[in-house]
């Protein structure tokens, strides 16, 4: 049995479970754990250990299943930042103290009422004097409070002048940004890069000392340091999405995205062996744009991304109905995450029909065209379904604007930050899943995610999808021109009217796709790692 390494270098504070790539990694690791022909070690920075543990625990993998190498102690700078974060959370958790305070306050009010009762009913001078004595500290406290509020009022008069000064604003803005939006602060990013570089050096030391590891695999192309590993390396390039929509991305993520783009290009340019999810990315991106030799690139398509296990209820007289009820409960929770729709909880009856597109909002995701098609369907064709999306509408302001200007805020629900179960529930409850994306690294997960829970799907006719949906008849039923909103609208309307027959056709495709399990995928990766680390390949490379 040979040993291979998995290289991970995600930034701190990233919850892998919430990331598409994290879920992909989880599927990979689940099968890698029991792979009979290879064992894996994972190399990661110190700050990723917890996130990795959580990811493994979340998918039921024992924490001891993989050897994890790399620095153990986090840098002090990061620890301090984490302490600060904990402090904020601890401050929020102090509601118990507040609760106690409220109880005391209630008790105090009751006692005061009782004392007042005594005060007005007593006929004893002694008792009256005692009550006055008891009240004395509170009178003093009240006087002190009046004094404090007077000082505060005085400070309030000075404050506006101070707040207007340029120096004050400059530093206060920087502090606010570092503490609230660390990713948006150039200072934080610069400091992080220094920390990352040092951590990478330490990590490389650990890695290069492990001569028992035959080859290393990086599941994404964000880490040029990976190329400094001495053993054979396999880099996965899911896509280079910024190059697919250059103008659209120019106003997203600012220079941070540009820096990431540079990292991806550096990773590709310094890379050795590559793997992609599709022929399209292999040829259009790696071969044509980056002039990588086709022989250095393997294609390993995704396994079927199934969601049914997350929501399938068993052990009830009517499991189907119980599953639906469970999904309705999850949808209720998901509605709490709606952004831009007032009182979205109004739609929690379980009776609301909707179309679903699960995706973050990025220029290549083609959300605007979907919105245009949806508005036409709603207002001209009287298709009453809602459209449920999962992106944050402010990520691309034109989306938020369109929704607002066209008065769609009660029909287009942006449920952002869904858990995996909530996502599965949305798919299950939807009448139709739609994916209008213009470019993806592989066939969009929408296809198998929707079909795994019995929901039909229509998608944009793009190369990566056509690699998987190859039957021309089925293509004509379920694919639309993603550049043509009218075609998209017509396909959605047709699919809603013919959802049973469409699903029946698609389930046949799904059966075939579901045969390609993640075990198959892992075996293919192992075969590639095996090949690139075999003496013949290594000597060729030398």
């Amino acid at each position: 049995m040979r040993t291979f390494g998995i290289y991970l270098a995600y930034p701190p504070a990233l919850d892998l479970r919430a990331q598409g790539l994290g879920r992909h990694l989880a599927e990979f690791l689940k099968e890698a754990e029991t792979c009979p022909t290879a064992r894996f070690v994972i190399a990661c920075p110190s700050w990723m250990r917890k996130s990795l543990d959580d990811l493994l625990e979340g998918v039921g993998i024992s924490p001891d299943a993989f050897e994890i190498i790399g620095p153990k102690d986090e840098p002090m700078f990061l620890k301090l930042y984490q302490l600060y974060q904990d402090y904020i959370q601890r401050a929020r958790r102090q509601s118990r103290v507040l609760r106690l305070f409220r109880i005391l306050k209630r008790q105090f009010a009751r006692n005061v009422a009782r004392a007042e009762g005594l005060l007005v009913t007593t006929r004893s001078g002694l008792l009256l004097a005692s009550l006055a004595l008891l009240a004395l500290p509170f009178v003093v406290m009240a006087l002190a409070a009046i004094a404090v509020s007077s000082v505060a009022a005085l400070f309030g008069a000075v404050w506006p002048k101070l707040a207007r000064s340029r120096l004050f604003r400059r530093y206060s803005n920087a502090v606010v940004r570092v503490t609230t939006q660390p990713k948006a602060s150039s200072t934080t990013v610069r400091l992080y890069r220094l920390m990352e570089e040092a951590e990478a050096r330490l990590l490389l030391k650990h890695i290069n000392s492990r001569k028992d590891v035959s080859a290393w695999y990086a599941p994404t192309a964000f880490w040029p340091q990976f190329n400094r590993i001495e053993a054979p390396r396999l880099t996965c390039v899911p896509d280079v999405v910024l190059s697919e929509s250059p103008v659209g991305f120019s106003s997203v993520g600012g220079d941070r995205f540009l820096q990431n783009f540079g990292l991806v290009e550096a990773t590709i340019e310094g890379g050795d062996h590559f793997v992609t999810y599709s022929e399209h990315i292999k040829y259009r991106t790696l071969v044509e744009r980056y002039q990588i030799s086709p022989g250095a690139i393997d294609v390993v398509p995704h396994g079927a991304n199934r969601l049914d296990d997350l929501i399938a209820v068993s052990g009830f007289p009517d499991n189907k109905a119980a599953t639906k009820a469970f999904c309705v409960n999850l949808f209720r929770l998901a509605l709490n995450k709606a952004i831009g729709t007032q009182q979205a909880f109004n739609f929690d009856s379980g009776d609301v029909e909707f179309i679903f597109y699960a995706s973050q909002f990025r220029p290549n995701k083609n959300v605007m065209t979907l919105l245009r098609a949806y508005e036409h369907l709603l207002k001209r064709c009287y298709v009453g379904h809602k459209l449920v999306l999962t992106g944050h509408p402010d990520t691309l302001p034109e989306i938020a604007r369109f929704i607002r200007d066209r008065n769609l805020q009660n029909d287009v629900l942006c449920l952002h930050g869904l858990s995996a179960q909530e996502l599965a529930a949305c798919y299950q409850l939807a009448d139709l899943a739609v994916n209008p994306s213009l470019s993806e690294g592989g066939c969009p997960f929408t296809l198998t995610e929707a079909l795994s829970v019995g929901t039909p799907v229509v998608m944009g006719r793009i190369a990566v999808t056509e690699e998987v949906v190859t039957d021309p008849d089925l293509q004509s039923l379920m694919l639309f021109d993603p550049y043509d909103w009218e075609d998209m609208a017509a396909r959605i309307e047709w699919a809603l009217q013919n959802k049973e027959s469409l699903l029946e056709r698609q389930l046949k495709l799904y059966e075939r796709l579901a045969e390609r399990s993640w075990k198959t995928v892992v075996n293919e990766y192992v075969a590639i790692l095996d090949r690139i680390s075999s003496p013949a390949t290594c000597s060729e490379r030398a």
Partner: protein, 755 residues
């Protein structure tokens, strides 16, 4: 009626009821398909002991006793049963039960983790206001399974408490435990989705890290954790109870307990449990298995796992005390006393006593804003339908018609269609602050919290319509929530705001919210029903579709008579609202005259139409330009303005056809009026008009309101085909089939459910 499905509770309570003399018990056959309903099952065995007719039993067996089972099921229940035990999952259940069940109602309560039952009522009411009214609380009991539960509740609930203790069907000790499997048995269900149990499990793992354990409990969604046993056949479960070394029970909830600690005690398995929970009340606080902290529990469990016989024996021997209060013998006296009290009160309020003082039921139909024209006519028709429907249904109901007190808007002649038996009351809206609303609710006998700062109530200067048992508000145009002193229904004709933007979203939210707290929303088209569900989010069960009502226009008995009297014009009935689609209509007219050689004149009638070219609003601004560019329009278009009814009908009856080029709304009854006068119509194609066409068999001709060319072509076709179309119009008999008298019973069958 024991309207619960909890298996363990049923196994104790049904024999207990029989033991204290209850002869016949109905058990529900439908359970909610909810994975959290894991302890439920259906039991048919009691049906054979029931002496009620089979048809009645079929009705009861078919009903959903967790939602609103419907008036028929309740009436059947009232006929045969004295008491209904229930748990509360939906507020609609409590409301419908209060309205229609005449027996005693026992809300069976087994304690909650963190929330009181009064808070549950507020939660379920979703801001609708207090549910606990004199009607609701009549013969309603708080059937607490543990004697201290009512202490947490406000007085209005606490005073209704009756103690019916929880127990075990078999509380004997089997003592079959051997403890050969040296693991802790920890029961923690629903781990894949329940936050509470997930947190409990995390705490458990932290406290007992390094010790061997197995997790029992139902897992409706599979969990990838080797410790979790998941579903087990009964035999395997029994074996676990015999062989696992020790059970740990985590709960410190003072008001609720699970059944599995008792199972452990019965099998003889040592139980280590946390102090502060309900076990303290049941077994005292000196049991050796009791632990004040998880650390103490761990120490005890470690000793048990390592075979400390002294501790094991001491726990096993003493813990049997926990079963004592759960035995039927111990519970019987309380059950007997409790049920005796309930039945005694029921006899005091027997129907013969209450019927003697029962006033006539009264329904108010309220027009909330100064609607005139079609809306006023519609509200009057609704009032008539209710009155007629109730009479036809054999119910003695009085209908009151409320309209805003605005003599200028509502002169007496505006109500000439309102029958004398429907009393008319002018009113104005009274705005109540939160404090005023709280006081009003208290005086009305309503207990519970109010969620809003401001409320509104119709003030007729008499009793603010509280003499009426039900309010029916025509439209949802209420700025504030209605004061919840009476149940109310909304009659909503459309949700135009979904397709146009007549007001901002805040206003929309206000209106939509009114529908959510109404008892039901009545609509007249499937399209509006769809919008109520899809756009407003009203639950489908609360949406009631009733037929469209059309006024009895002066019907022309024989449309053929008019054939020789047709003018060379068609009539466009409209107003200045944006959805009337004026710009496309003008473009279509231009094409009709200039491209297709149309020759009929176009007569425009309707409210404010004289201002068509004068009003400076965006959707009318382009009309002047279109007219100035087209000599044909100038020549053929004639603005008639708002005509009195008789003049309008005279004009309409001579028209070649009626033109309705508006965009989506709730449809216009002018096409029905036209059909009665023997005039065909060309209408925009949208759902409400399609439904109207179907209900009244109008054979309308259709056009696309977004395509002026198509509109113009269809106008030209009407010019040539109007005679043929006229012959396809419905007969007077067909239209009479859609009269208010014929449709009234459909209204009554919906409304009577809420009285």
């Amino acid at each position: 009626m024991w309207l619960l499905n909890h298996t363990a509770a049923r196994e104790f309570e049904i024999p207990m009821l029989k033991r204290i003399g209850v002869r016949e018990i109905f058990l529900p056959k439908k359970i909610p398909a909810d994975p959290t309903f894991r302890s439920a099952s259906v039991d048919w065995s009691e049906d054979e002991h029931l002496t009620i007719p089979n048809d009645d039993l079929a009705i009861l067996n078919d009903a959903d006793w967790y939602h609103n089972p419907g008036i028929e099921a309740w009436q059947t229940a009232s006929k045969h049963f004295d008491i209904a035990f229930f748990i509360l999952l939906k507020i609609d259940f409590l409301k419908s039960m209060s309205r229609h069940f005449e027996g005693a109602k026992i809300w069976r309560t087994y304690g909650n983790a963190k929330i009181s039952y009064s808070e549950i009522l507020d939660l379920f009411a979703r801001g609708a206001g207090p549910v606990w009214s004199p009607v609701t609380s009549k013969n309603l009991w708080f059937g607490q399974a543990y004697p201290h539960l009512a202490a947490k509740e406000p007085n209005f609930i606490a005073k209704k408490a009756v103690f019916l203790p929880a127990g075990l069907a078999d509380a004997s000790v089997r003592d079959e435990w051997n403890g050969d499997d040296k693991r802790i048995f920890f029961v923690c269900p629903d781990l894949a989705f329940n936050d509470y149990y997930q947190a409990v499990y995390r705490t458990f793992k932290k406290a007992f890290a390094g010790l061997p354990y197995a997790v029992g409990g139902s897992q409706p969604i599979s969990v990838k954790d080797p410790h979790v046993l998941g579903y087990l056949p009964n035999e395997q479960h029994r074996r676990n109870m015999r062989e696992l070394r020790v059970m740990y029970y985590h709960s410190t909830e003072p008001d609720h307990i699970h059944y599995h600690p008792f199972e452990a005690v019965r099998s003889g398995m040592p139980l280590v449990f946390m102090a502060g929970g309900l076990l303290d009340r049941l077994g005292g606080i000196d049991l050796p298995g009791r632990s004040k902290t998880p650390k103490e529990a761990r120490q005890k469990i470690e000793r048990i796992l390592s075979g400390d016989r002294r501790l094991i024996d001491s726990i096993r021997q003493s813990q049997q005390r926990l079963l004592e209060p759960m035995k039927a013998d111990a519970c019987e006296a309380d059950w007997r006393a409790g049920l005796g009290r309930v039945l005694g009160k029921l006899r005091e309020s027997s129907p013969s006593i209450s019927l003697a003082n029962k006033p006539k039921k009264r329904i108010a139909v309220l027009l909330p804003v100064a609607y005139r024209g079609g809306s006023l006519r519609g509200a009057i028709l609704l009032a008539r339908a209710i009155a007629t429907g109730s009479r036809m249904g054999g119910d003695d109901i009085e209908v009151v018609f409320g309209h805003l007190d605005d003599p200028a808007c509502y002169p007496k002649e505006a109500f000439k269609d309102l029958p004398l038996y429907i009393k008319r009351r002018p009113y104005h809206w009274r705005i109540l602050s939160h404090d005023e609303a709280v006081r009003a609710c208290a005086y009305a006998g309503l207990n519970g919290s109010l969620a809003h700062k401001t409320y509104q109530a119709p003030d007729d200067g008499i009793s603010q319509f509280t003499d009426c048992d039900l309010w029916i508000v025509v439209s949802d145009r209420l700025d504030f929530p209605l004061l919840p002193v009476r149940p109310y229904l909304l009659m909503i004709y459309d949700y135009l705001q979904r397709y146009q933007t007549p007001f901002n979203d805040d206003t929309n939210q206000r209106f939509v919210a009114r529908g959510h707290v109404a008892e039901a929303v009545m609509v007249t088209t499937a399209f509006t029903a769809g919008d109520a569900r899809q756009f407003a989010g009203i639950p489908a069960k609360k949406i009631k579709k009733v037929p469209m009502l059309a006024p009895e226009f002066f019907a022309n008995e024989n449309p053929a008579r008019l054939e020789d009297d047709i003018g060379r014009f068609f009539l466009w009935t409209t107003n200045l609202a944006p959805h009337k689609n004026h710009e496309n209509a003008f473009k279509a007219l231009r094409l009709y005259y200039e491209k297709y050689g149309g020759s009929l004149k176009c007569h425009v009638t309707g409210v404010d139409t004289r201002d068509l070219f004068k009003r400076d609003v965006p959707h009318l601004r382009g009309l002047k330009d279109i007219r100035s560019l087209s000599a044909a329009i100038k020549q053929h278009l004639k603005i008639e303005g708002e005509l009195p009814d008789q003049s309008y009908q005279a004009r309409l009856s001579r028209a070649a056809f009626l033109w309705h080029p508006g965009r989506v709304d709730n449809g216009t009854l002018s096409v029905v009026e036209a059909a009665r006068l023997g005039v065909p119509a060309l209408s925009s194609d949208y759902p409400a008009m399609r439904e109207m066409d179907e209900q009244f068999a109008l054979h309308l001709t259709w056009m696309d309101p977004d395509d002026p060319d198509n509109m113009a072509r269809e106008l030209k076709r009407m010019e040539t085909d109007s005679e043929t179309l006229r012959r396809r119009l419905p007969s007077a008999e067909q239209l009479a089939g859609q009269s208010v008298d014929r449709l009234a019973s459909a209204y009554w069958s919906v409304i009577k459910d809420y009285l």
